[in-house]
């Protein structure tokens, strides 16, 4: 234990001596929050800009439905083609889009409403509210359809009658917390990337010490290789816990971003991710023969996976197959946990997500341990 503390002390010392490290740990994540606030803009009270795609063109009923969506106080509606959605959402022109399928009007008359698809990057919170109000409206229409007994003219007449007094698509204004949530998630996305980089840098000390041969001196002392690696992991974890704590605190107090999740929940979940990051960094170290291979692997693994898993921009903007691929990445599961919690999911419901994160860290660590053990040069760590 005394030995471990001695090694920990030294690792802390050299970590704090390196200013670049401190930037990666504490300054860059704050810049991430700043960037996220700028990109996401606004305070949260803005109108929702909705796009509507109508595949059921020329149908009077669908047209009327679209008009009623447009009548909402909090929504601004434009009509567009389906292939424009992604571009417009990405550029921030639109917050969400509703897609009416072909045959929608007929399905209402037949009181078997077809599914209306909603695309959004603002997170499920907005989508949920839009869906709820839309559903309510559609239910009303189904009743109208029943009353009209399949007669289209009668349906339209009834529709117009209902439409006049007090028949509004939604009673209440859609409250847009999404801006806050998006700022949070974007900031967390950047934080995840920086955590991965921080972890790799700190584990990289193991390789650097092999290269400057101080590791052999350590080996010739009574310190065991295990103690040595363990102390590195402890410093790594501690530094990342500090990083998480400081970043979240600054985000909530200085930038006044309300993440919609309690501080400690976020902290604990991110610590799980820290373990994943450490595991991954150890794998990189175990498979690298030199610092340059390690940083090569780092570049090849960390940035692309972070892009793919939605750390830099929302997943919905990516092709479907890419979105499926993201499910194999730990960053995806962390971001998913956060957005689920923002939608009011409980820890219990998210146990699968948490287990997946734990599994990632366990598997990575085991791979590293296995590989260390098989480096037949004595100079292996375990």
């Amino acid at each position: 234990m005394r030995d471990t503390l001695w090694l920990i002390r030294k690792t802390f010392m050299s970590t704090f001596k390196n200013y670049l490290n401190l930037f990666i740990y504490f300054v860059f994540p704050v810049m991430g929050i700043l960037l996220a606030t700028l990109v996401q803009g606004g305070t949260g009270d803005s109108e929702l800009k909705m796009g509507i795609v109508n595949h059921d063109g020329g149908q009077a009923i669908t047209k009327r439905m679209m008009d009623s969506v447009g009548k909402q106080d909090s929504m601004l509606v434009i009509e567009l083609e389906e292939n424009e959605i992604k571009g417009r959402i990405a550029s921030g022109e639109l917050d969400a889009a509703i897609i009416f399928p072909t045959g929608f009007a007929q399905s209402l008359i037949a009181h078997k409403p077809a599914d209306v698809k909603i695309v959004s990057i603002k997170g499920a919170q907005v989508t949920g509210q839009v869906t709820a109000t839309l559903d309510q409206h559609i239910n009303n229409m189904v009743s109208v359809g029943r009353a009209a007994q399949g007669d289209e003219a009668k349906f339209i007449a009834l529709y117009d009658k209902f439409q006049k007094p007090g028949f509004e698509l939604a009673g209440k204004k859609v409250e847009d917390q999404s801006v806050n949530f998006n700022k949070t998630n974007q900031s967390i996305g950047y934080l995840l990337i920086l955590m991965l980089v921080s972890a790799s840098n700190l584990s990289g000390i193991l390789i650097k010490e092999r290269e400057n041969r101080t590791y052999y001196r350590l080996l010739s002392s009574p310190i065991s290789p295990r103690t040595y690696v363990l102390s590195n992991i402890i410093v790594n974890l501690t530094m990342m816990m500090l990083q998480i704590a400081v970043t979240l605190l600054i985000m909530m107090t200085i930038f006044h971003v309300d993440p919609g999740i309690p501080y400690w929940s976020m902290f604990l979940i991110l610590v799980l991710f820290a373990l994943v990051a450490i595991g991954l960094s150890l794998v990189i170290v175990a498979f690298s023969s030199s610092s340059s291979t390690a940083s090569g692997m780092q570049n090849m693994i960390l940035i692309p996976t972070s892009l793919l898993s939605g750390c830099m921009f929302p997943l919905v903007l990516m092709p479907e197959t890419m979105q499926q691929l993201a499910r194999f990445l730990p960053q995806y599961w962390l971001l998913d946990t956060f957005s689920d919690l923002q939608q009011g999911g409980s820890f219990g419901e998210l146990s699968l997500n948490l287990i997946i994160l734990i599994a990632f860290s366990v598997v990575f660590t085991l791979i590293a341990v296995y590989k260390f053990g098989r480096n037949n040069d004595t100079r292996s760590y375990i």
């Binding site: 005394r2 030995d3 001695w6 030294k10 010392m13 050299s14 001596k17 390196n18 400057n212 041969r213 101080t214 052999y216 001196r217 350590l218 080996l219 010739s220 002392s221 009574p222 310190i223 004595t378 100079r379």
Partner: protein, 312 residues
């Protein structure tokens, strides 16, 4: 008591045998020299003793205890000065020594005292706060040594501690080694500088292709080649020397002329000094002095291994 006992030690790298079944022992108070050309297996043997390399076969005992079973005990009592520098460039000289000494459990006032002592010992007493990146090669070497001695090991293993440094630092290091030894530290000293080994070592092992091919004190090693003798004859001018006639004399193996010195290597059994002198006189060379030298360690090495110590 033997500080180190090595029994039938071997090391293989794949199919390559770097250390081949060596057996040796080092007694308390010795400076034991490990002499061998590049790639002879010196570092490999030493690294096994210092637990830096896994042993392929054989046993190593330090202070009477097997290092495989009592690894912590062995490590506590050994200090190693690695062939290549092993220091932190981003830590001061003081921090370096303190960190490594701390690995041996030293703390507080005692640690501080030992660190100061070690740095003073290698002549870096005024460089506590300097960073090694600003050091000369010789200063780095000395810091490398300080890191190995602060915990006062009973056995200090030095792997070519003077390679590639200025003569001043080298002399300083050789002086420190002797002083350490006087203070009771047993030393294993690896080198391919014959003069160094000859100057400081009390006993020497010559290692070649992973095997110890000779071992003993300087005298004992030289006795191995007592069948050879070196005769140096100083003359006024060697211009008229008839080399082939000299070489034709029974027993003479080699004749070399260096300026005004005629060097003759000859079988020691045959008493041919008279005939050699007669020949020189016949050539009308004015003889100034005649000297019969002991063979040098260099000659011993050359004779035993058939190659020179350093790749020239």
């Amino acid at each position: 008591m033997n500080v180190l006992e090595v029994k039938q030690l071997s090391k293989k790298f794949g199919d390559f045998i770097a250390v081949d079944n060596i057996t040796m022992s080092v007694k308390e108070g010795e400076i034991f020299g490990f002499l061998g050309a590049n790639g002879a297996g010196k570092s490999t043997a030493i690294n096994m003793i210092a637990s830096l390399l896994r042993v392929t076969k054989g046993e190593i005992e330090v202070l009477g205890k097997n290092i495989a079973k009592h690894s912590k005990f062995a490590k506590m009592n050994i200090g190693i000065v690695p062939q290549e520098m092993a220091i932190y460039e981003d830590m001061t000289a003081y921090e370096n020594v303190r960190f490594f000494a701390g690995l041996y459990g030293l703390r507080g006032a005692e640690l501080k005292e030992r660190v100061i002592e070690a740095l003073a010992f290698v002549g870096l007493g005024d460089k506590h706060k300097s960073y090694p990146k600003n050091f000369s090669g010789g200063m780095k070497r000395r810091l490398n040594i300080a890191c190995a001695i602060a915990h006062r090991p009973k056995l200090l293993i030095m792997d070519e501690p003077t390679v590639g440094i200025d003569p001043q630092s080298r002399n300083y290091i050789l002086g420190s080694v002797k002083k350490l030894n006087e203070l009771g530290c047993t030393i294993i000293y690896t080198s391919h500088y014959m003069e160094e080994v000859e100057e400081i070592c009390t006993r020497i092992a010559i290692i070649d292709h992973g095997k110890i091919i000779a071992e003993g004190t300087k005298g004992q090693l030289k006795a191995i080649i007592t069948n050879q003798k070196n005769i140096s004859i100083e003359v006024r001018s060697a211009e008229n020397l008839n080399k082939s006639k000299l070489e034709a004399i029974a027993g003479v193996n080699r004749v070399e002329v260096e300026d005004r010195i005629v060097k003759v290597t000859s079988d020691s059994e045959i008493n041919n000094l008279n005939r050699i002198i007669q020949q020189l006189m016949a050539d009308d060379l004015e003889i100034r002095a005649v000297e019969e030298n002991e063979p040098s360690l260099e000659t011993v090495f050359l004779t035993l291994t058939g190659r020179s110590l350093r790749d020239q």
